[in-house]
């Protein structure tokens, strides 16, 4: 094949890839693309090269992609990457403007503290801690948890901003109610122990000793979770029972994750607060069913156990800072 034909085939492959990403490809076009790829080995090779180059270039954006109703990370990444490169432009035309394109930073970027995390109490990665409240109640905070505490004359309120907690509610002479609230709703302890976990899209509540009353943030929907049971409140205020018993939802208090009917995504979600760095799991691998009990305090061990028992590959980068899990 001459250089000119190779260039032409490459341009065709690019045109097909543009078509494939249009969001409006018809079945007829899909079949035409399959026929074009099968027509000549050079076509298939060009397709693999072009689509592979684009995938590799965009792969770091995968964790930011908009999912369901949540596009905060996608908007933020878009905003960052659309910024003009002010300083580079100022010296463009100079000797080194575009020189070191493949330039790697070998050192960690020193980061200033984040003002948004000025909570009353918080825990770091892989840290669990008990906090005593003024009324004699106690909160056990899971790793990477932040709470605001307001024990007032008429009420006892804990705002769970991030992470999970188990509240051990002390009896109160003034019979002030005890509530844990999150962005999705409120859990009122009717008894002595309950677990609350907040995630981006929903909040999980488990009634460990006696019942818990749930109020969705829209103020309309309410439900009572009986002792030993768990429930979700989502961003729309819908309350659904969890199939997992309350004791399993609170297994993190002993540093364990217990899953009876879970997926790899659930395991990774539970490991993240216990691991410095970043775990990325491909959507196909995330759907794999997982059952068992896993230690949270030794994430390397848990990742290895998963790699040994599931059809996945676990790759570590930068000394384990970045972990990528894919189908084997």
């Amino acid at each position: 094949m001459t250089a000119a034909t190779a260039h032409a085939v490459r341009q065709q492959a690019i045109a097909w890839l543009v078509e494939a990403r249009s969001g409006a490809m018809t079945d007829a076009q899909r079949q035409a693309l399959a026929r074009w790829r099968a027509a000549h080995p050079a076509h298939e090779a060009a397709w693999a090269q072009v689509s592979g180059a684009l995938d590799r270039a965009l792969q770091p954006l995968e964790p930011f992609a908009a999912q369901g109703g949540s596009h905060a990370a996608a908007d933020a990444a878009l905003g960052a990457l659309l910024q003009p490169d002010r300083r580079r432009r100022r010296i463009a035309g100079g000797t080194l403007a575009v020189a070191g394109a493949a330039f790697t930073c070998l050192l960690a970027h020193r980061i200033t503290p984040l003002p948004g995390l000025l909570a009353d109490a918080h825990t770091a990665t892989a840290e669990r801690r008990t906090v005593a409240l003024a009324d004699g109640s106690r909160l056990l905070l899971d790793a990477r948890t932040a709470v605001d505490i307001a024990i007032g004359p008429g009420s006892r309120r804990v705002h769970l901003r991030q992470g999970a907690l188990i509240a051990e509610v002390a009896p109160d002479a003034a019979t002030r109610p005890f509530a844990v609230h999150t962005r999705h709703g409120e859990a009122h302890a009717l008894g002595t122990r309950c677990m609350v976990r907040v995630q981006d899209e929903r909040t999980q509540v488990a009634a460990l000793a006696q019942a818990v009353a749930l109020h969705a943030s829209d103020g309309l929907r309410k439900a009572v979770v009986a002792e030993g049971q768990g429930a979700w409140i989502d961003a729309h205020g819908t309350i659904t029972p969890t199939p997992t018993p309350a004791a399993d939802l609170a297994a993190w208090q002993r540093g364990m994750l217990a899953l009876q009917d879970g997926t790899l995504a659930d395991v990774v979600e539970a490991l993240r607060p216990y691991r410095r760095g970043f775990i990325r799991v491909s959507p196909a691998a995330a759907r794999l069913p997982v059952l068992g009990v896993f230690p949270l305090d030794d994430t390397d061990h848990t990742l290895q156990a998963l790699a040994d028992t599931l059809p996945i590959t676990v790759r570590r980068y930068q000394g384990g800072w970045m972990v990528a899990i894919d189908l084997a």
Binding site: A77, L78, G79, D85, R87, I91, H109, I111, D200
Partner: protein, 168 residues
């Protein structure tokens, strides 16, 4: 037999003779000693990772050239991170990233920025709306006020740029 030096002698000499000068130069650019120390270190790490040094008439000019590259990368990382956090902070009820997550976020943004920064703003925007927000071309065209055929031309250009960078 004398112990073999860990670094090529020329870099060791550069370090001994000009480390203090480079630190001062970077401190003047940055107005901050801690960052200047980091970037001085980064600059020498760059030199160690690079091919052997050429014969240098003016070692300080060479050091300054490499240090400028380090400096631009540093400024760009900081701008990317700040812009990311600004957009995030403007949205209510969003999980704010932890320090570890921010590190990974900046690494990822920087990797993509290296590929995209040679492209015009509209081309970048078309590709990112398609990739990050999963928008079909018709919606991208509506959003940016350009024709769908123009959206396709920008996509083709962006894909071409990714291929060109992927080549050895």
């Amino acid at each position: 037999m004398p112990a073999r030096p860990l670094t090529p002698p020329s870099i060791a000499v550069l370090y001994t003779d000009h480390h203090g000068w480079l630190l001062g130069w970077l401190r003047r650019k940055l107005g901050d000693t801690a960052h200047a120390q980091d970037l001085t270190h980064d600059t020498f790490v760059q030199l160690l990772a690079a091919p052997p040094l050429p014969a240098l008439d003016n070692p300080r000019a060479y050091l300054a050239t490499v240090a400028k590259r380090t400096l631009f990368a540093f400024w760009r990382r900081r701008d990317l991170e700040q812009a990311y956090l600004d957009v995030l902070a403007a949205q209510p009820r969003v999980h704010q990233p932890t320090e570890e997550e921010r590190y990974a976020i900046v690494q990822a943004l920087e990797a993509v920025d290296r590929v995209l920064r040679s492209l015009p703003a509209t081309t970048r925007q078309v590709l990112l709306l398609n990739q990050l927000h999963g928008l079909p071309y018709r919606e991208i065209g509506d959003k940016l006020g350009i024709a769908e055929i123009t959206v396709r031309r920008h996509m083709a250009r962006a894909i071409g740029a990714c291929c060109a960078l992927a080549e050895p």
